[in-house]
């Protein structure tokens, strides 16, 4: 995987700071690419709007990145939106069947890194066109987690920030 920057995507939400990733040789970050792509696709326009509302409003402004809303664990990353069959204890609830999936890495309840995603056109990541996006998201996540472990990425929970090892905001991995 090429080098990439971990950068702020939205730090103005009430309960959560959202980061994204951008390859060094790319003009756009991966999350903007995802939303631009599907916002321009008439079939998925309303799903795109619903997913964005869920991320920025439900997670960002109302509840934070709590486990009840980030419950679709897929190896190193989490898939959004909240799982179609939300299981709370013994109960299962239905969320509208979403055709889209975006992958995220939860750092804390207040810091989330958003990646890219795609269309859920198969029963599993392995069997759908999401496979490439999921593999890439897992690699991003591994590099970020390794960065946190070795000090290249510092989690500032007080300010809801990610910093590099020198205490500034430019994070290249």
């Amino acid at each position: 995987m090429n080098n990439f920057e971990v950068k702020i995507w939205d730090d103005e939400r009430r309960f959560c700071t959202f980061y994204t990733v951008q390859f060094e040789d790319s003009d756009e970050n991966e999350t903007d690419k995802f939303f631009i792509r599907f916002d321009n696709f008439p079939t998925y326009e309303s799903a795109t709007q619903a997913l964005l509302s869920f991320i920025l409003l439900s997670i960002g402004d109302d509840h934070g990145a709590i486990d009840e809303l980030l419950n679709r664990y897929e190896e190193e990353v989490i898939g959004l939106p909240v799982k179609g069959r939300v299981k709370l204890g013994e109960f299962t609830y239905n969320y509208p069947d979403f055709p889209l999936r975006i992958y995220v890495l939860k750092i804390t309840d207040e810091i989330v890194v958003l990646f890219n995603g795609g269309i859920k056109d198969g029963p599993t990541n392995m069997e759908s066109s999401l496979h490439h996006n999921w593999v890439e998201a897992c690699e991003f996540a591994r590099r970020i987690i390794d960065g946190i472990k070795d000090g290249a990425v510092v989690v500032d929970e007080v300010n809801r920030n990610l910093l590099n090892g020198k205490g500034t905001e430019e994070i290249f991995l």
């Binding site: 939303f35 009840e68 809303l69 909240v82 709370l88 609830y93 239905n94």
Partner: protein, 138 residues
């Protein structure tokens, strides 16, 4: 700092889409809190409703959308309000006839409890005497 792409999409997102996303998450959180507090399990709820666990599972399966009726059923079984709809009724009306222009003021009070995020209203207890002079009561 905010993503311009996200801002653009959110600005054209219908209000109902935003409301639904927030309501759904709020409801999930609220139900989850109640279930944890009450320590419910599928079996205990089945016993309470005098149904089999499999019937409860079916009732709460992924095919079961959150309709008003299903919310009402859940509310009945959990014994806690899940959805509160504020009801407004007029407390008093004031019509001034002392000036050429007639003014009318109607004060409503909230008759049901409201979630923490909403404004709280306290009901006014106006006293109107025979000369139609208003006295405010705390």
């Amino acid at each position: 700092m905010r993503s311009k792409v996200a801002d653009r999409i959110l600005s054209k997102t219908p209000e109902e889409t935003k409301i639904f996303a927030r309501l759904y998450s709020d409801l999930i959180m609220h139900i989850n809190r109640i279930i944890k507090e009450k320590g419910y399990s599928q079996k205990s709820l089945a016993d309470k409703m005098e149904k089999s666990p499999s019937e409860i599972h079916k009732w709460l399966s992924a095919e079961h959308n959150f309709t008003l009726r299903s919310i009402a059923k859940l509310q009945a079984e959990l014994g806690e309000e899940l959805l509160i709809v504020p009801v407004r009724k007029p407390v008093f009306e004031f019509n001034s006839k002392f000036v050429k222009t007639t003014y009318s003021v109607t004060v409503y009070s909230q008759t049901t409890s409201v979630p923490d995020k909403s404004e709280s209203w306290t009901e006014a207890e106006p006293v109107v005497d025979s000369s139609k002079e208003l006295k405010n009561a705390a």
